[in-house]
Structures are given as C-alpha cells and as structure tokens.
C-alpha cells in the first residue's frame, strides 16, 4: 500500500489551525511517518504534486482567486476536511458580511483601488463538497488527531455534537450563568474545547460555532445575553 498524501492549504486565516498540527509535539513525528506531507507551505519547502488523499483547508473564501483555489483543491483531493471556524463558517472576517465591504476597504487601505476582495467571507462548503468540517477557533488538537486517524483508517471521525454545557458538567465547572449571572453562549455552542471559558470564570463566546439543534430564542431571552453578544440577535 502506498503512503497516503496529506496536503495543508491556507486561505484567509490566522495560521492558528494549521499551527495546531505542528503543536502536536508528541505526535507530529509519528504522524509524519504514516503520511507523506506532500504540501504544507508553512512547514516545508517541498512542494509535492497532487492528487492528494487528504486535504486540510484552513481559512475562508474571500477573494476570486481563493474561490478558484478551493475548486482546484477539490479536484486534486480525494477527501477535503475544513479545519476551524474560518474554513467551516467564514471566521471572524465574516463580520464584513453584515457591513459594506467597500467602506471597510477605505477604512484600512489608502488606495482602495488596489484591493480586490469578495463582498462576503464564506465557508469552503459554500463552494465545493466537503467531507468533514472541524469546528473551533482554533481547532482542538485531540479532535484534529481523531480526524487524521479516522481518515487514515477509512472511517468517519467521532466528534461529539453536544453543547459546551455537557462538557461543563463533565469537568465539574459550576454554571457561570447560575452561579454569577455571567452571560454564556455555552448552551448553543458545540462542544470540543472542554468547556474552557467557564473553567476560567468566563462565559463562552461561541468559538466552536452554533450547535445544530440550538435553542437560540430561549437563550436570547435571558438577561444580558443580547447585550453582551451584540451580533447574536441579528445573526440568530
């Protein structure tokens, strides 16, 4: 059997999700022994040609060029997995979707005519078929390793689709809403981080994205929630 080829791509993003792969300090060399890292610009100057067995995509689609790139990546990859909130949902830069992008350009750049960008920041799945979407800003290291082993073994990754609240209970965190009235998006946010923010006495701000079965209307009725999370009401 030939060694599966892995590619890691980057669109509009912060590098944090692909860095998560390099942050698997204990596993990196054994992962590298099982796959051929054929394309991973941040880590290697070796640029192997496709087709690739697994492509990980970080970042959202915000330019015409990147739109063509995701189509190319899809064509040369057997499996496509998006890593992180940018690639899966559009990311923090999708805040432009609620605004006028031309006005945004003129605020940041002296020569707006030099800038070519799309009006919206969109997830990869808006343009091509995606085999699996990994949540988080950034993604969780253990979940990434699960996705890699699942694809190497030819099975579906086992990633729980429950709320952050469930992880709070598992971890034994007191509920920040009940205990100190801190507004928290935990009830409508997908688990994966291990209920990190509540463990630090802080409300969840939703970096793993919305739960599929979220009951957002009820949460929005609780005191403080829509005031704290200003876009929550509109986006709901």
């Amino acid at each position: 059997m030939s060694v599966p080829k892995l590619a890691v791509w980057k669109l509009a993003s912060c590098d944090g999700c692909q860095l998560t792969l390099l942050d698997c300090e204990d596993e990196l060399l054994s992962v590298a022994a099982k796959v051929e890292i054929a394309y991973f610009l941040e880590a290697s100057s070796f640029k192997g040609r496709g087709p690739y067995d697994l492509s990980l995509i970080e970042g959202s689609v915000t330019t015409e060029e990147d739109l063509h790139r995701v189509q190319h990546i899809r064509r040369v990859s057997k499996h496509v997995v998006t890593i992180g909130a940018c690639a899966t949902a559009g990311g923090i830069q999708a805040l432009r979707n609620f605004a006028d992008v031309r006005e945004f350009i003129s605020v940041v750049y002296a020569r707006p005519d030099y800038i070519a960008t799309l009006e919206h920041s969109t997830p990869v799945s808006a343009h091509v078929a995606v085999d699996f979407e990994l949540r988080g800003c950034p993604i969780d290291k253990r979940q990434l390793l699960e996705v890699l082993s699942a694809f190497l073994a030819g099975r579906r990754p086992v990633i729980p689709e429950e709320s952050v609240c469930v992880e709070c209970k598992e971890r034994g965190n007191p509920c920040v809403m009940v205990a100190h009235g801190t507004p928290c998006l935990g009830p409508v946010t997908q688990a994966g981080c291990g209920a990190l923010c509540p463990a630090f006495n802080r409300g969840c701000f939703g970096c793993f994205g919305p739960l599929r079965s979220a009951n957002a209307a009820t949460l929005a009725g609780l005191p403080g929630v829509t005031r704290t999370f200003s876009d929550f009401q509109e986006a709901r």
Partner: protein, 429 residues
C-alpha cells in the same frame, strides 16, 4: 545575461502566504518586491462599533502564532484610555504568559522553519529523519512554551483568559508547578540550542541596520516600554503616530513604515538584542559569552542565535516568576471606559507591535489602528534582498532564488498579520 527575473511563487516556512519578485537589468537590480498575497481581513474596520472589552479576543485572531502579543498591545492601549495601571503580580502574570509565547514561537522558528536552511533540509520533519533527537529537543522546547501559555491563558492558541485590566481567573500556584518542572528541562534545552546554532555555517553578510525596539528600565523589554532606535532616538509610545508613518507608495503593493521620514528600519530579535542585551538574564549573558557572541549582531542569518538566546532568557525569567509567584488578591483591575485615545505596544516575537484605539464615551471603538512588525520590516527585508542578489546575479536562477528565500526567512516574517498588508491584486488598466 542582461535580463534576469527571479520569482518564488509560494514562500515556504514562513507564516502566512507571500511571494518574491526580483528583476535585474544589465547587472543592476531594478525591482524587488516581497509580495503579500494574504487576503485582507479588515480587522481595523470590523472593530469599529464594538465594545472596548473585545479587542483582546478579536485581534488575537490576526495571528495564531503570536496571539498573546496582540492581546497585550491591545490591553495596554485600552487600559491607558481607562486610566488603569496593571502592575505587581498581575503584570508578572502577563510577563509569564508572554514568555511562553516567545518560547513557543522562537522554538518553532529555530527548529522547524530556520535550522533546515543551515542543515540542507526542506523541513524540520524531513530533518528529523537524520536528526531525530535534535528535532525532538526542539519540539519539547516548543511544548514547554505552549504549556506555559495554556497554564496562564487557558490554551496555547488564542488564549481565553486575557481581559482588559488583567485576567478572568489567576492560575493557582499548584497549576503552575508542573509547568516549572518542564521549564527547567526546557532551560537546559535552550542552553544546548544556543551552542548548537552557534556552530552553524553562517554566510559572511552584515547590513548596516537601523534598529527599533522597545526599551524598559526594569527588564529586557517585552511587555511595555519606550521606543528606542540604534541612532539614539527615544520616545514614549503615545508619540508613535508622530514618528512612524505608514505610506502607500504608488507602485508598491505594501504599506511601508517610515520612521521620521526614512524607510527601512528593522524591528525584531536583532534590534532588541542590539538595544537591550545587557538586560538579558545572567545565564543568558553567560551563554552568549561562551559562544563569543558580541553585544550587537548585524548578520541577519545569525538572528537564529539571538532567538536561541531570547528563548533561554524567557525560560530563565519564567522560572523566576513562577518561583516568586503569589496568587494576586483579584484577577483583574476594574476598567471603566471613557472617551479618549490610547496607545499600546509590546515586543511580539517578530518585533514591536503597536495598537491605537479611539473610544467614545460609551466605550465603543470609534477607530482602531494596528501596526504589526512585519509591515515595519518589509522595506528592510527588500533592502536585504537587493544587497544579497546584486553581486550574485551570475548564479543559476534556482540557486539564487533559494538564497533569497532564505534571506526572507531570516526575519521570520509573519505574513498572516495582514491586518495591514496590501498586496493583493494591482489593477492593470
């Protein structure tokens, strides 16, 4: 050979995406462009109208490699508007978090991105095939940094525990103890790293850099300080806008920072070392002396030595802070917003990172400005490339291109900081 064009399409082993373009005519370089093709993400625009409490979490997302730097510069700018001072044990905790980021980021660059250039490998992972113990040492060092960031900040990338005024929760002494264990080993690894990289074969190239870095009376500046330059300029951070102007040159694809009207200064490890090296920890100065490393280094290839020394310093100082750590009475100083303008700067692993915010009376952001280190260094990196390539135009193109790519990597450019980069697509009419 009269014309020569060098292109490196996707620069590798740098953070973010960029490309390189050099053109020569009759033995003279006519154009050098380090192109940033990171798509713009408009952070400064999307911050407007949001609460003064949000920039630490939002601006962290500019860069996954140095989120703490963004959080620290943002907090300081906002705290100066709220007229709040974060000092004592809370400031120490911030230092601790920041040292973790320096260790993690420097170890990544030294072992996985930069060293492969000296040993002739395409990547750190490929290098591991022949030098597994070395790469494992580097990964362990990096892990110690990440664990320190996670212990104080909650997680290694985009820590969740930072807020304007301090932290959501101060870690207990017990939570820090296992990190200290690992840091002690990391400190030994850092000493070994200094000795290892000092033995590399360095091209004999020096540039007459104009350095810029923060400087602080009490420490090798990382968290705060005044701005200082190697030609004797010194000013408080609030004066930044009157000294540093970002210009959008008509035929350039990037914003070039000018310091008092002159482009091409350098910020980052070489600058910090040249301006502040007497303040490095005793152990670090000893390690520098042992390898015969002077107080100023102008060889960009040797920036790997400076990063190794700074890693050692960070391990050493972090251990001291953990030993002396007493849990603060409260995790943060309350910060009430008011209308005003605030400036903040800190030393990201790649250099001085400046933030400015204007708040209205409700504490909503009216204006934000962020100047990342790589935007400041870009013009200087292009000067390095020009000086490197011109006398070597006779080399085969592929060889020269590889040399140029190495020269870019010397400065560990972090192209993800596209908050402020232009590249992009020039309109051809």
């Amino acid at each position: 050979m009269t014309h020569k064009t060098i292109r490196v399409g996707g620069l590798s082993r740098v953070e973010g995406e960029g490309s390189l373009f050099i053109q020569a005519r009759q033995g003279r370089i006519t154009d050098v462009q380090l192109n940033i093709y990171e798509p713009p993400r408009f952070f400064e625009a999307l911050l407007r109208g949001r609460a003064y409490t949000e920039p630490p979490d939002i601006t962290a997302r500019i860069c996954g490699i140095c989120p703490v730097a963004y959080q620290m510069s943002a907090c300081q700018a906002l705290e100066s508007i709220c007229d709040v001072t974060v000092d004592g044990p809370l400031r120490d905790l911030r230092l601790l978090l920041y040292y973790g980021e320096w260790i993690e980021s420097h170890a990544l660059h030294i072992y996985l991105l930069h060293a492969p250039d000296f040993l002739g490998y395409p990547s750190g992972v490929a290098m591991a095939a022949d030098h597994r113990d070395l790469v494992e040492r580097g990964l362990a060092l990096k892990k110690a940094g990440n664990e320190l960031v996670a212990a104080v900040g909650g997680r290694a990338i985009h820590p969740i525990n930072v807020r304007v005024g301090g932290f959501y929760r101060a870690p207990s002494k017990r939570e820090l103890t296992p990190v200290a264990e690992r840091l002690r080993r990391a400190r030994d690894a850092a000493v070994a790293t200094v000795r290892w990289v000092a033995g590399f074969d360095f091209p004999d190239i020096e540039h007459d850099y104009r350095f810029l870095a923060l400087t602080h009376p009490g420490e090798y500046a990382i968290l705060s300080g005044d701005v200082a330059t190697s030609d004797g300029l010194r000013f408080p951070i609030a004066d930044w806008p009157s000294h540093v102007v970002e210009e959008h040159l008509p035929h350039s694809t990037a914003l070039h920072a000018r310091l008092d009207g002159v482009a091409g200064y350098l910020t980052g490890p070489l600058a910090r070392y040249a301006l502040n090296s007497p303040q490095l920890s005793g152990l670090t100065r000893q390690a520098a002396a042992e390898i015969g490393f002077g107080p100023i280094c102008r060889n960009p290839y040797q920036s790997i030595i400076v990063r190794a020394l700074e890693t050692l310093h960070a391990c050493d100082e972090a251990l001291r802070l953990i030993d002396d750590y007493i849990e603060p009475d409260r995790p943060f100083v309350p910060a009430e917003p008011r209308a005003g303008i605030g400036h903040g700067a800190s030393e990201a692993p790649r250099g001085t990172l400046y933030h400015r915010y204007r708040l209205d009376a409700e504490g909503l952001i009216a204006e934000a400005d962020i100047v990342p280190p790589t935007a400041q260094n870009q013009a200087r990196i292009e000067d390095d490339l020009r000086a490197l390539a011109e006398p070597r135009l006779a080399l085969p193109t592929a060889e020269l291109a590889a040399l140029c790519e190495r020269a870019v990597r010397n400065h560990d450019p972090c192209i993800s900081c596209s908050a402020h980069f232009l590249d992009l697509h020039i309109h051809h009419d």
